[in-house]
Structure formats: structure tokens, C-alpha cells
Symmetry: C2
Subunit: 388 residues, 2 copies
């Protein structure tokens, strides 16, 4: 029997389409315990700012706050919206009010979808006295440049006749003026953090419309129109704000929502855009937990060549290396590029696939293969006397 | 850097249909070395007595001996046959002269196929002075009860007219008498070991014809006829030999070849039937190598509920446990039952599959995933300071 008790931190992302971060964390912890029942295990499920971020943060503490009135979904329908309150922090998830997951596949409408609902949640949190706000981007149904969100905070988007434009990126072609005078002065007391892993800028080939428009229901012609509309929107918004935002890295996130927020950045007490996983780690006390650990287990559904671009596992691996903590990354589907990228950070990638099978079969297998993979890793780590 | 040099024994079976035992062993060793370049690695590829057994044994030493004359393939066509000479031992592989792999799929003929060629190789080895002979069964195309093999050693199988029967299990229905008087007296100097993992007896539902006939080309009616012919053959052979063999475990191996050999067992200086992997391990010095090792890596294409029935990985795991050596078993396709069976022996099963994929894709991936799996395992074993 191993005499040495290891401090094990379990900090995975979701296996998208299969298991949320907490389910992954529990599966890994179960497997590890089977092999090493005496180790002290702590769960900090992670997320990248997109869908599931609030659930992941909630697992380590916080309270759900339901809005006193209905908010609007991406198509303007009423919605019971919530945010997470955790100490001084209020955390808003864009996917929650303005997410693709709010729409049936045949309801997706990239021209009409609006970020107004997310702005309502943000305004409600501020109205309830929250002064440190995190907004997690990702999973949005929208390509409106954040105009809906800004509208909910008091901005006005007017046509040639001085009338308020309808919602959505499609209407922006008729934008004639932006008024920012009515933006809530309370923003000046608010410290806003935008959590986003996207590095795309607002316009062009790698812009908001071209990159994410198709998955939001835009056809080729609509992508071109949305891109032109966002360029026109940027012209007018930047002039009104006195600040160029279109070329900033990440300005294309969530259909250009970051561009809209960047335009009014100086209205806030402080404003920053940070990688989602960094924000989630900070909120959940990841670094302190890591420093107290011998080993961290992380994981993602796919560990591929994209892993190196700011995703969760890479973030965990980098911090583990910096802290001198061993790191194992479990992956549902693993490519050699992903193994190599994480190996550069000293992490070992462990695939959970046990035999040739279809993606459907793998996605429906639940947590059992993950649990067995963690048990296997724990036994290998122990095999030649480590951790004793 | 790890200061401790591990003694690592690499002793896998083939990944059937994909990689032979030596290729598996090399792939595992390559991966292990990437993570732990200073370890001392020794390769002992294993096999179960069937096809590929000679190649596996040859990897640790021995010389190919080509027969001075042509032998016969299962259908009586001339064949360049070889056996392996290793010290005092001569090792004959049944699959080599009488194997299914000698025939095109449309040439398979369970009624006609004969073990005569294997008997010729055996006779040739004895004729060249070999007195310790191992015959590896498995992969045969035949269901003749070993009558062809015995014929090559001097036995006669006669019809009502006293004429020699034609080759193959189909002709046995006309068997009227067996003469064993002309069996070579030199057999009395020969120590024969039959290497076989089969436990099926000669006749009936789990007999040679019913179990293996279909894969040798027999239809349902031919299976019934072959089973009846083998029963008739046993009646006459057992009477001639003065020994009942039909019910002995394993007598149904290689189309009843073991039954035929058992009938003349007392003609040899010594005679034994042993599990193939045990024989291969003995020939290759596995136990001595294991005793000098810190860790053994084994592997099989499939690690499933069959693994517990005498296959290679289980044999390695049992010996490793008995010797107090750590054991890792790599598997191309792994089922929870296989993981559990090997875990009972203290071995850790590591699947090499890295993501959902088809069986075809997995089978054609070569050694690269195996190599990465070994590297991964070596890094996990090392991770928390083991082996240092």
C-alpha cells in the first residue's frame, strides 16, 4: 500500500456534446480513487467562458440570481434569465440569454438575432448593486456587433429618420447614427471583465460574420451582407466613441460583441478582455489549489492542433509547469499534434478511447471510459513506487 | 533526469491482422525509449504456437533449416518448407506447411486438406538428427485427425481392400484399418512437445469439425460428415493404438492432429501437450529475462473476455505477478472484462486507440499509435518520481 497521500487537483473542461465539466471532474476523481483511495482530491471544473461556464464556476461556490423581470432571447421572446453571484462578483454568461442553444436549429437567424437579452442581464446585475462583472462570451446566436447589448445599457442606434433600428445585424445596414449619451452613468462604477478565447477581429475573412456566421444560420450571401453591415456599424460607432476597435484582437468575438464593448470601454471604472479559462481559474481559486497539489488532472473532449490556442487543457498545463506540478490531460479524441503541444508543457495526454468505435458510440458512453482511464493512469503513476 | 535505469522486458504477442510480435515489440521499445532513453530494454516477442510462432522465436535466436526435398501443402502441391533449429531443439510450425494461409480463400477444402506436409517436416527434422522437437499447432487448413501427419511418419490408413486411403478427412469414412507397425523406430529417441492453446476435444458440438470446420471451408453438411468420419477414425485408431484419445482436452486441435499424435504418444521418448505461450516462453528464455527485469511490457490486438483463457498477455501477467515484476499490457482493442481480468493479476491495461475511428483505420495505422502509447506509459510511470 502506498504510504504517501497525494494532493490531486481535478480541473477539466467539458467533453463537449457528451459531459459537462463537473461530470468530467467527477468521473476522473472516481477512477483515481479506485486506484488510490487515500489521495486527497479537489474538484475545480473549468470552462472557457462559453456555454457551461456558469455551471463550472457554481461547482466551487456562488448563488444563482434570477432576474426580477423577463429578459429577451436572441429572437426577442421572453426568457427567465439568471446570473451567478459569487462574493463581490457577478458573472453573466452570454450563451445563457443570447445563445445558439436557445434556438431550435430551424430558428437560427443570423440577420435577426440580437444580444439585447445579454445586455438586460448585465444591466440587471448592475442594478442589483454588482460592481465587479464578468461576462463570458461564446456560443452566441448573434452577429449584431453587440449593438443589442449596448442598447440595453442605454445606447441608441438610429436610422436616417432618427428612429431606433430593429434588432439584429441585418438591420445595421440602415444605421445612420449612434448615440452614447444615454449610457448608464453607473457603468463608471463597474469593473467589467470580458472572458473570451476568440482572437478573430471584427471584419473580413477571419471576421465575426465569415468565421462564425455559417454556424449561426447565415448563408454565403448573408455572411457577405453581415460583414458589410458590421463594417458600416464600426464606421459610425467608432466615430461616436472616438476609438478604433475593429482591428483589435478578439473584437470579432460573439458576433462582434467585444467590438461593441471595446467602443464604450472608457465608460467603465475598468475594462479588460481576458482568456476565458484564465478568468474562470481566477474565480475558482485554481492557482491556489494548484500550488497546494502534487498533481493536476485536466481534460477536454478533443486534444488536437487547436489545443494550443488558449483552450483549457493548455492553460492548465502551462500553469502546472510554471508551478512545478505534474499534469495529466485526458482526451476524448486525441491527435498527435495535441499530444506534442501538451508534451512541450510537460503534460502527458491520456486518450480515453479503449477500442475502435464510432464517434456516436464514444459520445454516448458516459463517464465510464473516463473513469477507467483515470484509474489506469493512477495505477501507472503508482506502479514503480511513485507516490509511496 | 531519472538516475535509476530500469530493466524493461518487452514481450508482446502479435496484433493480429496488423503487426507481428516483433513489430509490436519494436514499436513499444521505441516509444519507451523516447521517454526513458537510459533504460535497458530487451525484446522477447511471443506467440501462442500458431502462425508466426517461428518468427517470434527466431527473433531471439535460431537458424532456418530448409528441407532437402519439397514437402506437400494442404492440397498435396509441392512446397518449400522450413523448420527452426535452435540449439538442441527443432521447432516445426503446423501453419507453415499445412496452414490456411497456404490456400486462397476459394481453395479451402476441409474434406481434402491434409496434414501430410507437416508430417514430412517433422520427419525431415528427425532425419536431420533433431531429437527434441516442438510442433506448434494452430492455423491449420485440415480436419484429418492428423492421419496425414502419421502417414508421413510411417503409419498406414487402409480401406476395405487394404489400399492406402486418399488424403484428407473426407476419405476417412472408408477407413477400415490402421497399421502402426511401420512407424519410424527413431521416434523412440525423440522428445516431442505439442504447443497448443486449444482445449476442444475431438468430437461433437465443441469438436474439431464443428468448431473450426467452417473457417476451413466446410459447409454444414460437411461439418457433420467430418465429425462422423473423425468418430469412425477414432474407433479404429484407438483400437490399433490401445489408447482412448478422443476425450482428452485439446485432442481436437488443428483438425484433430493432437488426437492422432496422442494415439502414438508412447512411441516417443517423451510426449507432452503444453500451452503455446508456455513453450515459446521456455524456448526464448522468457522467465530468466523476466526475473532480471523491473517491468515487463506485453500486448495483444484484443484484450477482451477471452484474454483470460491462456492467451499471451494473461500468461505474461501471471508470471510477472509471481516474479514480483510490474506489468503493463497494451491492447489494440480493449474491453472492460479484459481490463478486469488482467487487473486481477496486477497488470495495467493501456489501450492504444487515441480517438474514435473505424476498425479498418485502426488496423492500418501501423506501429505509431503503439509507440505513442508506450511513450505515454513511460512518462506516467516516471511522472511522480518513480524509477528515479
Amino acid at each position: 500500500m502506498d504510504a504517501r497521500v497525494l494532493q490531486v487537483l481535478v480541473a477539466p473542461d467539458s467533453f463537449k456534446g457528451s459531459l459537462d465539466p463537473l461530470a468530467v471532474a467527477r468521473g476522473l476523481a472516481d477512477g483515481w480513487r479506485r486506484a488510490r483511495p487515500l489521495d486527497e482530491i479537489r474538484l475545480i471544473p473549468l470552462a472557457d467562458g462559453g456555454e457551461g461556464t456558469l455551471e463550472a464556476i457554481k461547482a466551487t461556490g456562488g448563488d444563482w440570481i434570477e432576474l426580477p423581470v423577463h429578459a429577451r432571447d436572441p429572437l426577442g421572446r421572453p426568457l427567465r434569465a439568471t446570473f451567478l453571484r459569487r462574493g463581490e462578483q457577478g458573472i453573466v454568461e452570454m450563451a445563457s440569454a443570447s445563445g445558439l442553444s436557445r434556438l431550435a436549429v430551424d430558428e437560427r437567424d443570423a440577420m435577426a438575432a440580437s444580444t439585447f437579452g445579454t445586455g438586460q442581464v448585465l444591466a440587471a446585475a448592475i442594478g442589483l448593486g454588482v460592481r465587479q462583472v464578468v461576462i463570458g462570451l461564446g456560443g452566441s446566436a448573434t452577429t449584431d456587433g453587440g449593438s443589442g447589448l449596448l442598447t440595453a445599457l442605454g445606447a441608441r442606434f438610429l436610422d436616417e429618420q432618427g428612429k431606433d433600428l430593429p434588432s439584429g445585424g441585418g438591420a445595421l445596414e440602415r444605421l445612420a447614427a449612434v448615440e452614447l449619451d444615454e449610457l448608464s452613468p453607473v457603468l463608471g462604477e463597474v469593473h467589467l471583465t470580458v472572458a473570451s478565447d476568440v482572437t478573430n477581429s471584427l471584419l473580413g475573412e477571419r471576421g465575426a460574420a465569415a468565421t462564425y456566421g455559417p454556424q449561426k444560420g447565415a448563408d454565403e450571401e448573408q455572411v457577405a451582407r453581415l460583414d458589410a453591415n458590421l463594417a458600416h456599424y464600426a464606421d459610425i460607432l467608432e466615430r461616436a466613441a472616438g476609438r478604433v476597435v475593429r482591428d483589435e484582437s478578439g473584437s470579432g468575438a460573439a458576433g462582434g460583441t467585444t467590438a461593441g464593448l471595446l467602443a464604450i470601454a472608457d465608460r467603465f471604472a475598468s475594462f479588460q478582455v481576458r482568456p476565458g479559462v484564465d478568468v474562470v481559474m481566477e474565480l475558482t481559486g485554481f492557482d491556489e489549489a494548484l500550488a497546494a497539489s502534487d498533481l493536476v488532472l485536466t481534460g477536454e473532449g478533443r486534444v488536437d492542433d487547436q489545443t494550443s490556442f488558449g483552450k483549457t487543457a493548455m492553460g492548465v498545463a502551462r500553469r502546472a509547469r510554471a508551478t512545478g506540478v505534474a499534469c495529466i490531460c485526458f482526451g476524448g479524441g486525441v491527435l498527435p499534434e495535441g499530444i506534442a503541444a501538451l508534451a512541450e508543457q510537460g503534460a502527458v495526454v491520456v486518450p480515453i478511447t479503449e477500442r475502435p468505435m464510432s464517434l456516436e458510440e464514444a459520445m454516448s458512453a458516459g463517464a465510464a471510459p473516463l473513469t477507467r482511464a483515470a484509474e489506469r493512469a493512477a495505477r501507472l503513476v503508482t506502479m514503480l513506487g511513485a507516490g509511496r
